[in-house]
Symmetry: C3
Subunit: 339 residues, 3 copies
């Protein structure tokens, strides 16, 4: 493919950045600071990396005002260089090829409604009573089940399954292998065997949510599982039935949230975090990687658990064996103190 080219001046104008240096420099790719060449755009998010600017041969660099003078080439000055880079870099993405209309190999129920501006990819299946709104892109090999609604401008990348009663807001992005709306895990014990509790609710996502590859969001038992606007989920996450998550909450890979937990807005969960069922976590709670909440969290803040120091295995097991009698140890110390 031919690369698209932009001048530094054009980028500044389009994204409201301040230009310092030669605006005519031509840029057709982005690259990290230490590898960027004369046709590359680079950026410095953190002033710690400022020392690398001296040796940098990038055609242009997005920087904060404080670092503008340190740039050899052209500087594109931004109040928040990280955000500016995020926006500018979209210019250099491969354009998505998703022709409007229904691919001949797709199977669309006559009871589904598909907007004329939507794109339905090859080998995708749209079932009864599904609604595909304007400008939606359904990639290849997706399944959109009964009573699902894909909001305007949303995209299912490929191999995505919306099982039943899943409603996506606008501009939602779902990565491959994600499964939304599978049965919540509900069982009742009846005379020595399990019977299934029907899962009559659905799943609702607000606008601008993102769901990572192979992530699962189960549908509710009686009411819906709900993610508010701008929730961002990484890969391999599990959201159980009837969970509610507030707006702008972000979760990293392998996070698990058990049934009926309520999580606030602007929370940030590190990788492999967890929340037990039926808990309430207030707004702006950060769980660090591996931390698992087993009780309600009423105060915003940064919390940790289950993240012990890595040790050579022999040292680990010598210490870990002592854990079995930690309570006894405390009592022995108390006895010594009494003497």
């Amino acid at each position: 493919m031919n690369k698209q080219m932009y001048t530094a001046a054009a980028i500044c104008e389009r994204f409201g950045l301040q230009l310092k240096g030669d605006g005519a420099v031509e840029l057709d790719a982005v690259a990290p600071l230490d590898r960027a060449g004369p046709r590359d755009l680079s950026f410095v998010v953190n002033d710690r990396y400022a020392s690398q600017l001296a040796a940098c041969t990038a055609g242009a660099v997005i920087v904060s005002t404080a670092l503008a003078d340190a740039v050899n080439g052209t500087a594109l000055i931004a109040a928040n260089p990280h955000v500016a880079f995020a926006k500018v870099a979209t210019l250099f993405e491969r354009p998505l090829s998703a022709p409007v209309g229904i691919h001949p190999s797709a199977v669309v129920s006559p009871l589904a409604k598909v907007a004329a501006s939507a794109s339905i990819g090859p080998c995708s299946v749209i079932e009864d009573d599904a609604v595909i709104e304007d400008d939606v892109i359904i990639g290849p090999n997706c399944v959109v089940g009964p009573d699902c609604v894909v909001g305007a401008g949303s995209r299912l990348v490929a191999q995505v399954t919306l099982v039943l009663r899943v409603r996506l807001g606008k501009r939602v992005l779902i990565h491959p292998g994600a499964v939304l709306g599978a049965d919540g895990f509900g069982l009742a014990f009846d005379n020595g065997h399990w019977i299934k509790i029907p899962q009559l609710g659905g799943v609702r996502l607000g606008d601008d949510c993102e769901v990572g590859a192979n992530t699962t969001i189960d549908r509710g038992a009686l009411e819906d599982t709900v993610l508010a606007d701008d929730c961002r989920l990484d890969d391999h996450i599990h959201i159980a039935h009837n969970v509610e998550i507030g707006a702008h909450t972000v979760m990293a890979g392998f996070t698990g949230v058990a049934g009926s937990a309520k999580i606030g807005s602007y929370c940030q969960f590190g990788a492999r975090a967890g929340v037990f069922g039926h808990l309430e976590i207030t707004d702006k709670v950060t769980l660090t990687g591996c931390a698992v909440a087993t009780g309600n969290i009423r105060e915003a803040g940064v919390y940790t658990s289950n993240n012990l120091p890595l040790l050579p295995s022999r040292d680990w097991f010598r210490n870990a064996a002592r854990f079995k009698r930690l309570d006894e140890l405390v009592q022995r110390v108390a006895a010594l103190e009494k003497e």
Copy 2:
């Protein structure tokens, strides 16, 4: 869709419940106690919630005998209200649309056997020597590989893969993204590089098993990986090769069972539980969430590990640092005791 309507009396008759109040009340949905209206059926599983009955406006409520008098509307009295609700709620599920026969977009090998009463969904692929028994429903975009048998009345919801030599019992339910029968993870080290050990076994599931979304069950190396009847697996579970699991065992999300472990009947594993390879876990063992068995468990009971208290991060790391010398601490206490 028009909703299906049932009278309270009809429900009682059908499910053997005892009626108290107006049997003619018409019900067309289920709802939780605090939101149910006059056409909704609700239920009280736990006597703790009995206090909510006073304000409840549900048309009818499934309750235990003890609570029948507290219901404002019609009471449907059950010995086990949880089980009764599970059964009654099936009336209000969206009927599954799965026409008998093979969808024209499905690809079925001439060497496969498909029962006339089975439904093969769009874009599904049935490979050589696969057997699809009576009343099976294969949803859209599934793959049933060679030498696989899908037992009568089973359902693969969508995007399910049975790779090779997978035999499902009757009424097995598999959710989207699940992969059964992929190669077990077996390697031998040969002169500085890895070579693959062929996985010549299969996977066998008994009747009435359920497998959650994106769960994986690998096939055995020489013999089969086996789940007995009525095993229930949540989403994101991994069952490695040659594992054997007894009947009625239930596992929550992210549980992992390593190769050749043998797990008893009526076990219950909480989320992110784990079992190391080649272990034996007896019947009726409960592992709480995050607990990992690293040795055999010979006695039924409830076991925990790897679930330490969540703390503000500063407090966590101050304590966690001490773990490195826990053994030394025990010896220091012993020295003090000797003095």
Copy 3:
């Protein structure tokens, strides 16, 4: 299917093993030592199992020189019986049915290049500018996205997704549900909401890599996520964007590696291991199951964390509660020592 039969002599000749006993014995399956019959080939990898040889009725057994005399039937003597078995067992695998050419139900972009010797399975989708090299097998329901290259002799088993800019070396094997090349998880915070950082890199795998079912490898932000030759990943693994992994490294199920971590060659990670972002792990590091590296590892060796003893729950929680004041306990002991 008819089984393929091999004589012991033919196997010895083909794989360079030393024959002891009757070379004419006919073998048509493999079985574990305790269940093998007269037409089965078995093996002893570990001299610990030698005692089982006395009762063994296998037609032939692969053993080390030391055990050859203990075999009742025919012995196939190998320097490394584990490796020899791995190679010989391939004879007894079900032959793969993957006809050369493009299945009529597959959808291949006219801008893709597919080698004449490749097999493209039913309902698979090959998108613009993808390259499928010689002898590649793409199973059913796969998606190979734009700018992806599948190297010669590689196989995508079924339901595999290569999203964008994924380059596989030769003889790479990818199991169902795996997703390579999905967007790395990169966000910038802009005035109260999240914006996405475009992920302009790709994913590169060397030769002879294996990727387990439902494993995800995200593509890089600016540069590629890279796995060198002969990396072996089990199921449910997550490799985040810009990770680099050295040759011959092996990871078990649920391992997670966070963004930009660099991992050496010949590392072995147990199940549910983890590596925090931006760390460096040197060659030949073993992380035992559940161990999570939160800092660089500069020395080869075996490391553990987050694997505490499993206890009856009552005992666990009594001890775990003491963890909250472990630091205080250490100070109390120090105070006693001063006295």
